[in-house]
Each structure stands twice: as structure tokens, then as C-alpha cells.
């Protein structure tokens, strides 16, 4: 589904040059569930952001469905993004002024889709995530776990084939964290490809494959026995 080759990401300020990703090669097949692990500052989130096309790469190739998107501009990237990728963040990134239903609908707003159809899709996904009774609440009125479910709902409402989750359980207690992981597993079971950054070895166990990053290099890859 996606293939990164010899990927470099360098942050430059006036005096300092920081290499976040140092010649990374990374592939994900359709239907896979991949966990990315590593210590703080090793480049996990940077890798995820580049995969999600919300950050640009310094050099290297990025093939997404056999299309090299490395040189694409923001307009092309945003178009690919909205068709293919859903995001889940550690800090949820819900918009405080919008209700649960509106937050989820936001992901469809930039697709050309009639309002009635959008509403239907949102209702379906809310049912599936068990948050239909919270549809009219604002994010501030929900628990962390519920907020993350909304974020997951928002990530999947567009039926994107790929979900990128950046420490989706980082802000949650173990019970709510478990719930979110189960959600991701069931999504994966339904065919959605998932790439997830996590600190938690137990949550990484939900994935088919775990990639370990250290100082911008992939150091090991473990494939979980089926």
C-alpha cells in the first residue's frame, strides 16, 4: 500500500541541524496493522506524519498506492489525504466549538457529499462506536475515552483505507485505552490498514508487526506469530 525508501527528515534552525529520520525504509501492505515503537525523540511521530502527508520529507521516495508523492504540493496531498487517510491523535484534536456529530461530520465536509448522506454516515459510525447518545454534546462534556472514540469515529467515517494513530491511548487510563485498542482491532479486522505509534508494549501486541525506531533508524522489526 505504501513504501518509503531511503527517507530522510532533517530539521534545520539557524545553528542546529537535527536528523529526525535517517535513511528509513518502511513498507506497509494493505490490511496490515503495524505498530511503531521507540524512545521519545526517536522519530516515530515524524515518520507517522510523513506517512500521513501532513509533514514533508527532506529526501527519499514515498510511494502511496504506487504513486510517488514525494514532490507533491499541498493541494495534491490534501486531496489524497482526504480520500485515503484517517488520523487519530493522542490529544484527540477535537474542535471544542463543534458537537460530537459535527466533529465527525467535519471529516466528510471537505468531500463533495450531500448533507443527507453525510448525516447518515455519521449516524452509522456513531452507532458503531457507541457514542450515538452523545451526538449533541460538546467535546468538553465527554470523558477522555469518549473523546478518543469520537476521534476514531472521525477517522473512519470517510471509509478511508488507512488509519494513522499517534499514541491513541497516551491520554487514556488502562480501561479506556483497552477499549480504543479493541476498536482499532475490529476496524483492522474489517479491512482497514492501521499504522499506530505507541509507547505501550501491550498495545503494540495488537499489531501484526512492530517496527522499532532508534535515533531515526529502524533497528528491529518483529512480526507477531499469527
Amino acid at each position: 500500500m505504501l513504501r518509503l525508501h531511503d527517507l530522510y527528515k532533517v530539521y534545520r534552525t539557524d545553528e542546529v541541524e537535527t536528523v529526525a529520520l535517517n535513511g528509513v525504509n518502511f513498507e506497509v501492505d494493505q490490511g496490515e496493522f503495524v505498530a511503531v515503537m521507540g524512545p521519545s525523540g526517536c522519530g516515530k511521530s515524524t515518520l507517522l506524519n510523513i506517512v500521513g502527508m501532513i509533514d514533508d520529507l527532506t529526501s527519499g521516495d514515498y510511494h502511496f498506492f504506487d504513486e510517488n508523492v514525494a514532490g507533491y504540493g499541498e493541494k495534491q496531498l490534501s486531496s489524497i489525504r482526504k480520500q485515503n487517510i484517517g488520523f487519530i491523535f493522542q490529544s484527540f484534536n477535537l474542535i471544542d466549538e463543534l458537537t460530537v456529530a459535527e466533529n465527525i461530520e467535519l471529516a466528510l465536509l471537505y468531500h463533495r457529499m450531500p448533507s443527507s448522506q453525510r448525516k447518515k454516515r455519521v449516524a452509522t459510525v456513531m452507532d458503531r462506536m457507541g457514542i450515538a447518545h452523545r451526538a449533541k454534546h460538546l467535546p468538553g462534556q465527554l470523558s477522555g475515552g469518549q473523546q478518543q472514540r469520537v476521534a476514531v469515529a472521525r477517522a473512519v467515517v470517510g471509509n478511508q483505507p488507512l488509519i494513522l494513530a499517534d499514541e491513541p491511548t497516551g491520554n487514556l487510563d488502562s480501561v479506556h485505552g483497552q477499549e480504543v485498542m479493541e476498536l482499532l482491532r475490529s476496524l483492522n479486522a474489517d479491512g482497514t490498514t492501521i499504522v499506530m505509534v505507541t509507547h505501550s508494549p501491550s498495545h503494540a501486541d495488537y499489531a501484526h508487526r512492530t517496527v522499532n525506531l532508534f535515533d531515526g533508524h529502524i533497528v528491529t522489526e518483529n512480526v507477531r506469530a499469527a
Binding site: 499541498e74 467535519l106 471537505y110
Partner: protein, 808 residues
Amino acid sequence: MFWNNLKIALRNLRKNKLYAVINIAGLALGLAIYVFGGLLVEYERSHDLFFANAERTYTIGSYAAEDLDVGVDNMASTFSTVGPIIAAELSDVEHVARTISREMLVTMGADSFYQHMRFADSELLQIFDFDYLHGDARALNDPSGILITESSAIKYFGNTNVLGEVVTLDNEYEFYVSAVIRDVPLNSHFNSMVIMDSDLEVVAPLAALGRIRDWDLAGNWDNLSLGNMTYVMLPEHLDQEWLQDQVDGIYERQVPEDPKEVISGLFVKPLAHANLSIWDTIGMPVIAVVQLLSLLVLVVACVNYTNLATAQSLGRSREVGMRKTMGAERGQLLIQFLVESLTITAIAMVVAIAALEIVIPLFNNMADKVMELDYLRTLPWLVATTAAVGLVAGAYPAWLITRASPIDALRDVARKGKKGSKVRAVMIGAQFAISAFMLSVVTVVFVQNEMVKESSYVFPRSEIYTLGRLGIEDIQERFETLRHELEAVPNVESVAFSSQVPYEQNNSQFEVTMQPGDEAGKTRVHQMVMSPEFLDAYDIPLLAGRNLSREIGNDERSEESEVLNVLVNELTLEKLGIGSPAEALNQRFYDLDEENSLRELVIVGVVPTQNITGLFNTDKPWVFMYRPSSLRIGSVRISGSDMMGTLADVEDAWDRVIPEYPIQGRFLDEVFNDVYDILKIMNVALAGFAGVALVLALIGLFGLAAFMAAQRTREIGVRKVLGASSLQVAKLLVWQFSKPVLWALVVALPLAYMGSKTYLEFFADRINTEVIILLVAGLVAVLLAWGTVAGHAIRISRASPIIALRYE
């Protein structure tokens, strides 16, 4: 999508109520001022358009000759001969009509009162299609007919059906009512020209003026009164430019040499501008200033909004990041933010219009106007203004917030970094520059006006009770009796008569030389005719020589006088090249006017140079002489505390001596205020604009300070943990805002200096402290800014460090 954007806009407003109120109130204030200014300008510029021929009717005015020392550059009037010359020379012109304003004693039954009248050529009624209740446009064809307005008819007769009713003028001349018209609307120059003492009430044929006052129908080259108008109506195919060319030619060919020394040219103005002529005459571009100021206030309000919206939008960086992550394009987000600013502007416009609906009737009431907010006509303008303000004010924050890449936006880089902080500083600076500019100019205007007032106290303004309209032979014959009767009233110190009193803007001048007939050495002097008591009544000291006296033959001028003793002021000595006051005594100088029998003037006394016309006039060279037939106003100097009682006694004395004419008394204070009030109103209006601009700037600063302080909460926490004192932290926050404010002053004060110079140039006597005043005004602006910011700074600097650190 649009509804979604609108929903977000409204929810954001609800969430940040303080910002919402500040934003909307600020914009509404700015919009209200701007719309009001626009309406006022449009109102003032569209007078008289309800007359069918308004578009092709013009007025003829005159430029004042350069060395004519009358304090104005141009006048809306011209010599009364010009009208007939135009009619005779320009056969293409459809109609020409003059109006001459005069006050007449009108008697109706037992009632006598002074009535302001316009004497007009009968063609006036061809040019202006008045709305006739009775009679028609032939009303002025009969030299004994008069046309009156509905309200005058009711005032005189109690009803409007009064054709043929008799009215007596000056106790002697009988007229009959030949037409009654509906009152002319207030937005006509007939009723709104400041130089007119009165609305259009009574119009009589110009021929009648010939009968009553020997006025020559062909007009004259002697008198240039501001209230006299000359109207010209052109056929459809001719325009202002054509008429101007024609009157330029008429000036060259037809105006004799002497009047050419008074007026340097003639000018043509559309009728719609006639009501504004007072400002042209004074030389103050009031309409342009109103436009400029209302625009500046709107700019301040826009900058205010932009600034607050920018600061606030940074808090929405994550939302932008999230939307971008989900595929929103920048254009879509720009639209979202612009819809928000348009929503806020629209709300502000509604608030502004609501406010204007309250303010305009109050203003109309106060200023005697009939301004209105005609939605049908102004809607496109209001909508365009709303759209323009919404887009302009919202453009920068929208551009800034949508600029970041998705990941930078999600990481809130904009808020953490310094992006946009320079632009914000520039905006605060711009806002403050405008407010400081206005504040300092207003202060200079105020101080200058105060100086005008202060210097006017050289004459005992509040102790002089003037008696007007004495220039009638019938009254002049009884002056001595009147004076004795008045002097007998307790608390009356002296009684004088003169041709004018201080602050009256009359300019009676003549040319004199030191050698008879010496055209080359001539100088222009101002003439004051006075009775010998004048010096005493006005506390004017003698520097040398003696006062005029009734006992000395050559002190009193008569028709046959060839030699006359006069007093002069020091400036006249200077102009004539005579040395000290003592040397001046018994020196002779000569009148250049060959039509005068009077040739030789002998100086018998010298008085100091005082600014008799006052206000914006310069000191003038005066020659004081005694000539009973030219006295037209009395000055009764009153002392003591029982003012009311004394005035009652004065009126009694008048009624005993001159029972058939009503007394026309008013204090010299009121004469002064006739003109001073115009300056004062302008100052109040300016102060209003400046006050609004300053309040807006302070509101903006307050909101921004609150926001910035919140943004720096974490930094403040760290600083406090590291040992910074509250005072140090407060200073830090205040300093953040001081730099742009100080830069603003650097820009504003030189501009204010130029602005105030322009105002001061209208005055001959100017303050010389404007630089200090500007600096003080600037300092006040800075102190206000500090005061506004300091409140937040102190509150936040006092908070416990852990609260500050927990903020994030």
C-alpha cells in the same frame, strides 16, 4: 459548508464573550461613526434637490481681493449689480434673481416686531417652484405684494388663508399678502445657511426695497453682504463650466476698478452646495475633515478588529491543522475565516444602525436638520461597507492562520513562535498613531479657541448690553434723550453709540494717504464711527491726546465736513509711517475717495491697538470718528449685581423714549458667541471623533493585553519560579506594548503638528505653545495605554507560579 462556517463563527463568539463584545462593540462604534459621517456629508451636499430646477441653478460668489483685510478668502455673495449685468449680457441664461436680506420692523394691528425678510427679483419664483397654498408664482410681480410661508402666516394671522391681508413695514409702508407657500424643508439653503440669521419666512419684491430704502434696482458696487444671493438658472444644454467662463468675462469687462480692489473674481457654484458656503467662506474644509475623520475612526476600528481577531485566531491553530489534515484546502479555510469576520461585521453593522436610529433624531433635533437613514437608497452602500470592512479586517488573520502547514498548525507553531507579532505591533502602532494624532490636534484646537476667548476679555463682554437696529433716522434723532434716560438708570455706568461693536464681523474700510491724492502711498484703514462715550464704555485708554467731543466743531462729521478730527490706533500710525503717539498729535492724513467732500483727517488722540473684530481676525488699523448719522448700535455698560432689575429699567427707559420700536437688546457675550460657537461646535465634533478613536484604541489594547498575557502565562510562571518579582513581570508585560505605542507617537506627533498648524493658520493671533501641547497630549495617550495594559499585567504577575505553569 456556508452554514457550517456560520455556525462555527457564532459558536466562537459565544465561547469568547469578552472578545465578542469588544469586537462587535468596537466595530459597531467605528461603523456608526463612519455611516453617520457619510450620511451627514451626503445630506449637506444634497440640499435643495427637491426644487425642480435645482440641477441647473447656480449661485454667484466672489473671491476676496488679496489685500482686503476681512479675514475670508471668498464669499457666497457678490455685488448687487452683477445679477442685472448677467441678465443683460447672457441671453442664453433662463433666469437671474437676486435676494437682499434685510430686517424690517413689521406691524400687524397693535403688534410690532422685527422680521427677517428677503427682498427678491420676481424671477426668483420662476427659479424655485415653491409649494403654493394660496396665490402663485406671480406673487412678486406687484411691488406691494409679499409672499409668506405657512408658519409665518400662522404667526401673523393665526391661519393660512390670508391673501390680501395688510402688513406695515417700518411703521409706514403698506403691503398685502400675495401668496402663502408651504414651509421650505430644512434641507434647503434657504433655511440652513449659517450666515443667514433666519429661515425663509417673508419674501418681498426687490422693487419695494427701492421704495422703502431708496435702494436702486440696478444694484450697486458698494455693499457686499454675506446674506445677499444671486441665482442664475441655465437651460438644459449649458453647464457650470460655461457659466464660469461667462462670469469670468463679465468680471474682466464690467467690474470697475474700485470694486476690483475688493473682489478678485467671481465664481459659480451649484445650488446644492450653497448651504455649505459658510465653510468655504471661513476657509475650513469641514466636509472633507468630517469625511477624513470618520474614515480614520473606521480604520481604527478595523485595525482593532484585525488585531484582536489575529490574536484570537492563533488559539485556533489546532483546529486549522485538524481541518487541513482531513483534507481542507487553504481556500476553503480562508473562506471559513472570512465568513466569520463578515458575520461579526454584519452583527456590528446591525448594532450600528440601531444606534444611529436613536442618534439621528436626537442630532436632527439639536442641529435643526432632517437627516434620515433611507434604507432603500443606502442599502447598497451599507452592504458594500459591511462587506469591505469584513473582508479587509478579516483578511490578515485569515491569511496568517491558514498559512501554516498541517503539522505546524497541529503543533501550534504560530502561537509558540513570534509569527505575526511584528504585524500586530505595527497595527497597535497605527491605531495609536491615529488616536494620538486626533487627540493632539483636538487639544491644540481647544487651547487656541480658549486663547481666542481669553483675548476677547479685553473688552467687558458680559457687562455690555447692546441695543441693535438704531440706524433709522427716526431713532437717531432721539439718541441724546435716550442716552440721558439710560444714564439715569442705577448701575448703568455709561452709554455709547457706534457703527459696530467688538466681535461684529463688519468691515467698513477706506483708503488714506499722508499726502493728498498720493495713490502710491495709500493704505487701507478700518473705520469705526462712535460717540465720545465709546472709549469709556469699553475701557479703551488714551495713549496720547484727547477723546472726541461734541463741543468741538471739527470733532463731528457732517455731510459738508472737509476737515475732521479723529482718533487712531497705534497700528494706523505704523501704517501711515508716523512715529510715537505723542508725535502723531495734530498730524494730518487724507481720504482718497474723491466722491467724499471730506478730505482731511486730523489726529487728536491715539489709542492702543486692540483686536476689535476679534476671533480669527488680525489686529487692524482703525480710525475712530464721530458722525451721528452712522451710529446704528448702542452699548450700555452695566455694573452691579442686580442685572435683571437693571435690564428692566433699561427697557423702561427705551419704551419711554422710543415707544414705537421694540428694543433689540442682547449682551456683547452673545455677539461674540455668534462666531465663537461655530469654533466651539467644531471643537466638540473633533473631540468626539478623537474620543471615539482613542476609546477604540484603548479597547483594542485592553483585549489584546488580556490575550497576550494569557499567552505568556507559562513564560511568566517560569520567570517567577526562577525568582522574578511581580513588579519585574508587570514591567515586562507593559513594555511589550510600550514600544509600538512610542513608535506611534513618533509618527503621529509630526503629523499632528502639521494638522494643528493648518488650523492655527485660520487665526491671526495664534498660540505659540503647540509643540508643548502636542507633547503633553502624546504623553497622555501613552499613560492611558500603560494604564490599560497595567491592569492585566499586575493581576497576572501576582498569580502563583504554579497556576501560571499549569495553564498549558
